[in-house]
Symmetry: C2
Subunit: 477 residues, 2 copies
């Protein structure tokens, strides 16, 4: 299938803004820059995304909890790398009423410094470990760069952060692997393609030993980081003096990991699957999976409505999220437009001919193809089509993603391709060469894929010494 | 059944603190006063409570949304009564990083001033009305009084606030009635007794025309307000200049209501049903409805475990929230203690005698009564018992509540009874007399019940003029 997404590709920023508001996802006209309001339809997509995420985490022995939004400065500054990175981009509460507070309070930008001191109260011995917890809520970043809906915002309203605590480094590293697997499943279910890179040392999370990140690609050729997993080593354990008694009676600092996902995944869901008509929500995540639209025709209105009602009930009984749009004041055409914009994956049209022939007409949102089937087979057909749409969206997205990755040993080609996607070039592994290439071709070093191809027979693109890995480069949000 | 709750009654504050932490509801040892951490077990109770609340609201055409946590001072101060009441008890953000912000931002204490300006963007004509929305999230109060777990806190983490918008006052008043009905259902499902009072003018919500409140009673004789419903008239509509075009083409200010519930309902759920052994969670809200405890006996361990596993699977398959506690390192007695403290409504014990006789032993958490039944009838018996426990808890609570309401025309009796419960006395309806009685017998005027008994043949307890209503008095949290 040829990709006919023109506005989507050529004028992505405009397309994105139009879809966010047109499909009633979120409204950023609130009078503080970077703060938005989730609209009912967007909120339902968010709920479906979070339901999946909660299920994956609960099934893998994570406990959901809820921690305070404010952090006293005295806690926040305990881990020195961490505070250095976050203090300038935090909002600070200084007053309660007209009273100046004794200790400034930060609106949490992330919760390592909130949770670790509580862990100190709860963990005494190796028997209290491992412990895996998560919370979903708002975090805040005082962004000074231009904000962008769902991507660079000041109140991140949908931050899922998991924090785990372990008795040794091996166990923590196994947890890092498990977290990566959980996120893989999560993105697969949403039909989002990604690559996982170990971030270079100069771009890891503040306070981490190492950071693994999931990146996806947008139509403008920029990557979006949609998930991160951190091995925190004992950095926070030491800063907060969290020790436990080992099996052989020693005191040891706790080992820690953390991993996060935000509403950026919803930005990705919208972008990766959308087209020039608007949103296409994968059936798994769709608030409405099927919309039924009656095509009335004079003197046949009642017959058409009866069939629509029957089919609505039948699908609803099967647990399919179905809506019958029987608003009499709107034409079928304007309903098509509205639900296409909102990305409902499957439309059923029922007109006098369908009634007469005991059939229904389908229109798929992804391919816009029409088909008909017998009325009595409607459930099987809907189930089959929704599955096909889900698979097709993922396939289309994956193909597009792969088509925009270029492997090259040539600096000029790298420079050309960097505007349209991801480029993989040989690298010696030195920070100096990494930073140099970031400047040379105006890019960001995403990091290396530790799982795949070494590049030992190639030369570093910068210093021409022996390369060890291919490093991934791209412009990034 | 005689009420044997001694510590609960005589030393309520201590009891409450012990249960909150002992049953792992919430941990207030976070280093900012009035900020707590929801523990996994408490979080699950919270989830069950919110699931019920969401269902009731969604079924009555409310849309869930999410609004920003911060309010620019310029918006916050638009409704003058509102800001006067809230400005001294708000937390204020003044800095982003080291930069002083141009406009101070308040952490929302409630969201009328967040939502109304957005409504102005969304509502143009009568066809856009009514509109019913709600959100669940944190609100903040800079409390200067002593804080109390779940009751008087600085981060209210579980604030459900609904806001509705209407074309005329009649419709808004009908919504007030509907909101009251929704809350009645909500509290009934949780087995919480309440009375609904129209708050006196001097104690209504800042910015409201009138406020209706749900109060319940605690063992120390104090009432706790657990829900409020406000008719806001056009006060916010005028302050924010939100108009719509009526059917006959006029401009009119929008009519508004709002209503809220917070984690105080969880404080009530814990308190109202608890006893000297700890929590008793009503089956509807229980994270674990049934706990199975094997009673091992030498050489019979395997048989006992097999039966436990079978019963666990059987109940789980029926959708009952069941847990098998097969930790080998703990004695049955310590497991009883733990799950009684956590309020699991029903315990199943299975020992060698049960295995031999193909029976199971039940212990109800509410009455601590033991019973046995055939193994093959276990599902019916569990379903029946859970229903009985649910009903019995509500009945016990309702009886206790009614027993602590005194109707009197005698000031001395009123004064005596005010320490143990609610007192209803005749009142002329004048604010002056209301405020005087608050001082005279150290109480709070809860308000009047407009539905029931007038008191026209009685004299106001203060001025001795003709009374119009009985007014309710109690000490209050």
């Amino acid at each position: 299938m040829a990709d006919k997404r023109k506005v989507w590709k050529d004028n992505f920023t405009e397309w994105f803004h139009d879809v966010i508001l047109g499909a009633e996802i979120i409204d950023y006209r609130y009078p503080i820059k970077g703060f938005g309001v989730w609209l009912p339809y967007g909120f339902k997509i968010r709920e479906n995304v979070l339901r999946l995420l909660r299920k994956l985490l609960n099934d893998s022995l994570h406990d959901e909890m809820l921690f305070p939004i404010l952090i006293p400065e005295s806690l926040f500054e305990k881990e020195s790398t961490h505070i250095k990175s976050f203090e300038d981009e935090s909002f600070w509460v200084t007053h309660g009423g007209t009273t100046r507070l004794d200790v400034k309070l930060a609106l949490r930008p992330t919760s390592e410094t909130v949770i670790t001191p509580m862990i100190k109260l709860w963990v005494r011995s190796h028997a209290d470990l491992p412990r895996r917890i998560y919370q979903i809520g708002s975090v805040f970043r005082y962004e000074t760069k231009a904000t962008k809906p769902l991507i660079r915002i000041r109140e991140v309203t949908t931050f899922k952060e998991a924090h785990t605590y372990h008795a040794n480094h091996e166990e923590a590293l196994k947890q890092v692997e498990e977290a990566i697997n959980i996120y893989k499943q999560f993105f697969n279910e949403m039909g989002l393609p990604y690559m996982i890179s170990k971030r270079p040392q100069w771009d890891k999370f503040a306070g981490a030993v190492s950071t693994y990140a999931f990146d996806t690609l947008f139509p403008d050729g920029k990557v979006l980081q949609i998930g991160t997993v951190h091995d925190l080593g004992q950095n926070f354990g030491k800063a907060f003096d969290v020790t436990f008694e080992t099996k052989d009676g020693r005191k040891e600092y706790v080992w820690q990991t953390s991993y996060g996902i935000s509403e950026r995944v919803i930005a990705a869901l919208i972008t990766i699957h959308g087209d020039d008509r608007g949103l296409i929500v994968p059936p798994n995540m769709a608030p409405i999976q099927v919309v039924i639209i009656p095509i009335p025709y004079k003197e046949k209105e009642q017959d058409v409505n009866n069939v629509c009602n029957t089919i609505h009930e039948t699908l609803d009984r099967e647990g399919i999220r179905v809506k019958l749009d029987d608003r009499p004041e709107l034409t079928p055409g304007s309903k098509y437009y509205e639900w296409e914009q909102h990305g409902v994956p499957l439309r059923i049209e029922i007109g006098p001919r369908d009634v007469k022939e005991k059939s229904v007409t389908f229109v798929r949102r992804d391919t816009l193809e029409r088909a008909r089937c017998d009325e009595e087979k409607v459930v099987e057909e809907v189930v089959e089509l929704l599955k096909n749409i889900q698979d097709n969206l993922f396939e289309r997205a994956s193909t597009w993603f792969k088509d925009h990755i270029t492997k090259t040993d040539d600096l000029k080609e790298a420079e050309e391709k960097i505007g349209v996607g991801i480029v993989e070039v040989p690298w010696c592994g030195n920070e100096e060469c990494g930073l140099k290439i970031e400047r040379l071709i105006e890019t960001r070093v995403l990091g290396t894929d530790v799982e795949t191809e070494k590049a030992i027979n190639h030369k570093c693109l910068v210093c021409e010494n022996k390369a060890c890995h291919r490093v991934r480069l791209a412009r990034a949000y």
